[in-house]
Amino acid sequence: MDWEVTVQINNLTAGYGGQPVLYDIHLQVGEGRIVGLLGPNGSGKTTLMRCINSIIKPLQGEVQVRGQNVNKLDRMHIARLVSLVPQKTSAVFSYSCEDMIIMGMTPRLNLWSKPGRAAHARARQVCEEIGIADLLEHSFNQLSGGQQQLVLLARALLQNTPVMLLDEPTSHLDFSNQHRVLGLMLGMARSRGVTSIITLHDPNLALYYCDEVVILKEGRIIAGGQSRQVMNTSNLCQAFGENIEVDSTGKGLRVVVPRTIAVS
């Protein structure tokens, strides 16, 4: 069945311990789109993400993924609809990359089964697509930050879900790695037609990699739509409260810079 709207959020108010952090959120995400959630710290980006895979139950409103209310589903079913690439994981015990990636098979396993040969083959295939096949035998803890993020991506892709959430996956990486990894992640998502929702705090990354952008401030959406249209000076100033400008480089590329630098 072809879905037009994969994620539908209506009237969502949600927060922690009874205190709302998000107010009256309406959101629609189309199939296969890459949507960036942008906003300053404390604007509710991560909370919104946690509502989508039902880690936080809403105080009001509902979240639907492919027409199903996620809060009424059990964990296993949610995990077959929505996967997560976390920011970074602190693995206390050292797993091999292959073992880490194969965890993505969990939602499709029986209680007493463990992933079989077919699953391992699929994992290998995904790794080859991403380009990390040579890391399979390595210990996860010994990889660089960027490599670890790619392993986590492979795990999420193995889950084979229609929706993938990425929680600031590259914030802790250096400049070139940020772009390389993010490009790879979202490229993979696009080629598989996975609807991706990614939280970012760098407006430039949102501008380059996302089809659509939703800007949050203090728990409310102040703008949402095609990234080209939404990422303008007034919206960004309103969100970040800084003097920000969206400028063009000589080659016609748009960049987001603080006004103080833009002016000089």
């Binding site: 296993m76 976390p86 994981t89 969990t106």
Partner: protein
């Protein structure tokens, strides 16, 4: 990987053979073989001297060998579970207070109704499991549902029962009850008999099989809560399941033979060093390794000197230096991440 498995199985077999042949009651390995074959019905030939040894062999030594192997395996598996559940390489099986509770229960039984043998073991098991239940209830009242809260609750409960135990020890008659309590706390396989084996072994083995069968989920639980949930594992429910199983493992062991310290902490580390962190493999290896080492240590405890050494002394003398070695060398198996955070 295959080589490690073979080496382990060989080690286990050697431990069993050594345990059956060594002891203060002199039985020659050849005689052991005769006894085993005779029991299996393969031979009727038993030299005269061997006949009288069969009583001690079958009633004293054999059940002890079985019990120490299975208890060693059970405690090691419980150690794996707790380290995974609490994402803490220093988690030991008594982290939720089951040992403290069991000791308290046993001491209470020894002082209040010493006539009933079943009373001591039953009370130890009952109070031990109750302690974990108490820790769980306490943790569930906290707004935070993380594993760390459970550990804190366990510390509180353990402290409570430890205080109760100290009180009982203070009130106890020093010549009799106190010595008994202290000896029980230090743990010993001395009273291994077929009765004990019949009660304890099925429980331990069933729990171990169950947990290895569902072992894959434990890998997921050892990730961060949010990731585990995202991978489709209901963290809360599965945590309860694993805590129940490991509590059964530890409570059964402690109620039968007293506290055995250190084993549940170090065996998972050795196993992790050998086969990595994948839980199913880890638990299976820990069971075999833990059983064999427990067997060897118990054989030392009962054979080295004329009188018995309480088993916890042997495990502590070996366990503590080993842990020091792990900390100092920071070798494999992850005593903390290798990446600077």
């Amino acid at each position: 990987m295959k080589k490690i498995w073979i080496a382990l199985l060989v080690f286990a077999v050697i431990s069993v053979i050594a345990a059956l042949c060594l002891g203060r009651y002199p039985i020659h390995p050849g005689e052991v073989l005769c006894l085993l074959l005779a029991k299996l019905g393969l031979t009727n030939w038993l030299p005269g001297a061997v006949e009288e040894k069969s009583i001690v062999f079958w009633n004293i030594r054999f059940p002890r060998v079985i019990l120490s192997f299975v208890v060693g395996a059970g405690i090691s598996v419980a150690g794996c579970i707790f380290q995974a559940l609490f994402r803490n390489p220093l988690a030991a099986p008594d982290i939720l207070g089951v040992s403290a509770g069991a000791c308290f229960g046993a001491a209470l039984a020894m002082m209040v109704f010493p006539q009933f043998v079943l009373g001591i073991h039953g009370m130890a098991f009952g109070v031990g499991t109750f302690a974990v239940f108490l820790a769980f209830t306490l943790a569930s009242r906290s707004p935070s549902q993380s594993a760390a809260v459970l550990v804190l609750a366990g510390i509180v409960v353990a402290a409570l029962f430890q205080a109760g135990l100290s009180l009982l020890m203070y009130l106890a008659n020093p010549y009799d009850q106190l010595a008994r309590i202290v000896f029980w706390i230090m743990g010993s396989f001395q009273v291994a008999s077929w009765d004990k084996v019949q009660v304890v072994v099925p429980v331990l083995v069933s729990c171990m099989l169950l947990v290895v069968a569902f072992g894959w989920r434990l890998n997921i639980l050892s990730q961060e809560d949010e990731e585990a949930l995202a991978l489709g594992v209901d963290v809360k429910k599965w945590r309860v399941f694993y805590v129940i199983i490991s509590t059964l493992l530890v409570a059964s062991s402690v109620s039968a033979v007293g506290t055995i310290s250190w084993l549940g902490l170090i065996i998972p580390h050795i196993s992790r060093f050998l086969v990595g962190s994948e839980q199913r493999r880890l638990m299976a290896v820990s069971a075999i390794l833990g059983g064999s080492l427990m067997l060897l240590m118990d054989t030392c405890a009962r054979s080295l000197f004329e009188s018995e050494i309480p088993i916890s002394i042997v495990t502590s003398l070996i366990g503590a230096p080993f842990l020091a070695y792990l900390v100092l060398s920071r070798k494999g198996g992850g005593l903390g991440s290798d990446r600077p955070n």
